[in-house]
């Protein structure tokens, strides 16, 4: 058992005194701004950008606070604080988002400075989780653990976080800016649908460098990111991103918020011209000021040193035995557990998608439990995935059965990662002021229809992603089955797309046919699955069969009654 003091070996960046002072000062600054707003000294127009820069939105029912979880990694202590905030200031639950952050939905403005103070106690904040600035840099939820990892993305995500926090030149960009970085063979961070996507890799000499993509994005105009440069050496990592941001800041449109993202700029300039602009800017700025010194990288890398893994055999007798004896456990392992680079360890994904449940929501009690389990089984470290699940990255195979048993008891043991029940859904019209339709009830109905774990495994990999409006926070564009909620004459309808893919074989889904009602949508998913199962060849995932057969058979079945 890993009876490690909470957080001591968690692979997170540890604040120094400068960081703590900065966050504390920012909290007091915001407290004063709130007081001036409540007294009327600041108008709503003046206050709103300040509120947004501190992650506070006004939504349908109350204020919503979006708390930053830098690149999705936190300690058990931080998770316990989130649980406590949920209990004290909200309604006992929170929502994990597609940018690896956490949202609370029932926040009061007058209490927000106190909440931010509480967060600062555990080195957390809500800075730059909104507004036209660089947002949370996201990464692969298996960083530092997965067997297929080549470079630990956390190091560079942390470098970017430090570089872009309150960057004086990039605080008022034309629009929000989202960066994702990963360093594995498989893309678990959806990098090609981000404003900038970075692949960290090694050359033949073993040196670290980066491929930069730019101009990806979802929303009302989805685009796949274009390759801007195949190889940027480590020392130019910050300088190259700076060049991209400068080009965007200079040329990005500010006259129309629907045309203001970098994806529009890249699309309108074209890959070649945009790349030329970036290279020209980079050549101009390249120099000592923007050079990422190896000593800085080494210092940051120390924060993400592997925890003290025990010397274990590659396999565990007790683990293998438990799988044979307990079918439900075996099913969970088959789907929720990923191979670890350290012998005898495993990466466990905790599904926040119980059948019929609200995707990504966790109660304060569940958060506390996850914190305890992280302390007991995973060096006090927890990750948030962009698919709205949680990860305990360093669990001994010996401990997996005990972990699963504890998770099952709290409704956290659903065996559905990557399967049809592992639905991404935005908060939708139940919570969000921007939404046109509800997304959560449809997610619940679909996951309830496909509740049987055996059936889900038989279907295999199939990502359903649901958005309640065209802003696509539910990533519907890159769902193998995507669903977009729309408002047609005051009624909720759902547009189904198929063929989306968020990985390196990136694809935007195509509309299957006319929009349908919520009930029809659930039946439509069932029909799509039946057609897939009837047509698939050995080893084909849904996306593979769809590619081979085309839309025809699916469209025909779904719309047969129309």
């Amino acid at each position: 058992m890993n009876h490690i003091a909470p957080g001591r070996h968690a692979g997170v960046y540890t604040y120094d005194e400068i960081d703590r002072r900065f966050v504390a000062e920012r909290v007091e600054q915001f407290r004063a701004q709130v007081e001036r707003r409540l007294s009327g000294e600041l108008t709503e127009e003046e206050f709103k950008p300040l509120r947004l820069m501190n992650g506070l939105y006004l939504q349908l029912h109350a204020y919503m606070l979006r708390i930053a979880v830098p690149y999705g990694v936190m300690t058990s202590r931080q998770m316990r604080k989130l649980a406590e905030i949920g209990r004290t200031y909200d309604k006992g639950y929170g929502h994990f988002t597609t940018r690896q952050n956490l949202q609370f939905n029932w926040i009061k403005l007058e209490e927000t400075p106190d909440i931010l103070n509480q967060l600062a106690e555990v080195d957390m904040h809500a800075l730059q989780t909104s507004g036209n600035c660089v947002r949370n840099v996201t990464t692969d939820q298996f960083v530092g653990a997965a067997k297929d990892e080549l470079v630990d993305g956390r190091v560079y995500a942390e470098i970017l976080r430090q570089w872009t926090t309150l960057h004086p030149e990039f605080t008022y960009l034309p629009r929000k800016f989202k960066i994702a970085i990963m360093g594995s063979e498989k893309d678990r961070a959806a990098i090609r649908v981000h404003d900038v996507g970075v692949i960290a890799k090694r050359n033949d000499q073993g040196e670290i460098g980066f491929a930069f993509y730019a101009g990806g994005g979802l929303g009302r105009s989805p685009f796949i990111g274009k390759l801007i440069r195949e190889w940027v050496p480590e020392e130019d990592f910050v300088g190259y991103l700076e060049a991209i941001l400068r080009v965007y800041n200079q040329y990005g449109r500010r006259d129309n918020i629907y045309k203001a993202r970098i994806k529009i700029l890249v699309h309108e300039l074209g890959q070649e011209k945009f790349t030329a602009e970036v290279e020209e800017e980079f050549a101009r700025l390249r120099g000592p000021k923007y050079r990422l010194a190896p000593e800085i990288v080494a210092e940051i890398r120390q924060h993400f040193a592997p925890p003290p893994f025990e010397d274990l055999p590659a396999t565990s007798v007790s683990f293998d035995g438990a799988r044979v004896q307990n079918e439900a456990f075996a099913r969970w392992v088959a789907v929720n557990v990923t191979e670890h680079k350290a012998p005898g360890y495993a990466v466990a994904t905790i599904s926040l998608k119980p059948a019929g449940g609200i995707p990504g929501d966790a109660t304060s009690e569940q958060m506390d439990l996850v914190a305890d389990l992280a302390d007991r089984y995973s060096f006090g470290e927890i990750r948030v995935t962009h698919t709205q699940n949680l990860v305990l990255a360093h669990v001994k195979q010996d401990d997996l059965f005990a972990l699963w048993t504890a998770l099952e008891g709290a409704g956290l043991g659903t065996a559905n990662v990557g399967l049809i029940g592992d639905i991404i859904a935005c908060p939708g019209l139940d919570y969000c002021a921007l939404a046109n339709a509800r997304s959560i009830p449809l997610a619940q109905a679909i996951s309830a229809r496909f509740a049987d774990p055996a059936r889900q495994q038989a279907i295999g990999e199939l990502g359903i992603k649901i958005s309640g409006c065209i802003n696509a926070c539910g990533h519907h564009h890159v769902g193998a089955i995507g669903i977009l909620g729309v408002d047609k004459k005051g009624e909720e309808f759902y547009q189904i797309t198929v063929g989306g893919d968020p990985t390196l074989t990136t694809a935007i889904g195509d509309i299957l046919g006319p929009a349908v009602t919520a009930d029809e949508a659930v039946d439509a998913i069932e029909a799509i699955v039946e057609v897939y199962l009837a047509n698939r060849h050995d080893g084909e995932r849904f996306l593979d069969t769809l590619k081979r057969t085309g839309h025809g058979p699916f469209k025909e079945r779904v719309y047969a009654a129309h």
């Binding site: 409540l38 006004l58 029912h61 109350a62 009061k108 403005l109 609200i358 019209l429 959560i440 408002d487």
Partner: protein
């Protein structure tokens, strides 16, 4: 005149200090329950909205103040749009939360 234009309207906003959904009842008076909100017809609604906005602003009371359509059938009033129904009650997926829970 289109039926929509003739629809009675209520006025809503979010209370500044805590974000609570509130409804305009009379000058300087805002309520938390939709069934206690004032309803306005036609041009009266425009004037009421302007006055409500001005007062909410002046007193730092509420923000994002707007008017919305309501149907009244047999004495029961219902917001026309799903959005306002959800604002008036709470999330449909958590009926234990929001105004519907306090009812």
């Amino acid at each position: 005149m289109a039926l929509k234009d003739a629809a009675p309207k209520a006025i809503t906003g979010n209370r500044l200090r805590d974000g609570e959904v509130v409804f305009f009842q009379s000058e300087g008076v805002w309520v938390e329950r939709f069934d206690e909100a004032a309803l306005f017809e036609g041009a009266e609604a425009e004037a009421a909205l302007a006055a409500a906005k001005a007062q909410a602003d002046r007193d730092q009371y509420a923000v994002d103040v707007y008017a919305f359509d309501v149907t009244v059938t047999g004495g029961t009033r219902i917001p026309v749009k799903t959005r306002e129904r959800i604002r008036a009650l709470g999330p449909t997926v958590r009926t234990d939360l929001g105004k519907q829970a306090a009812a």
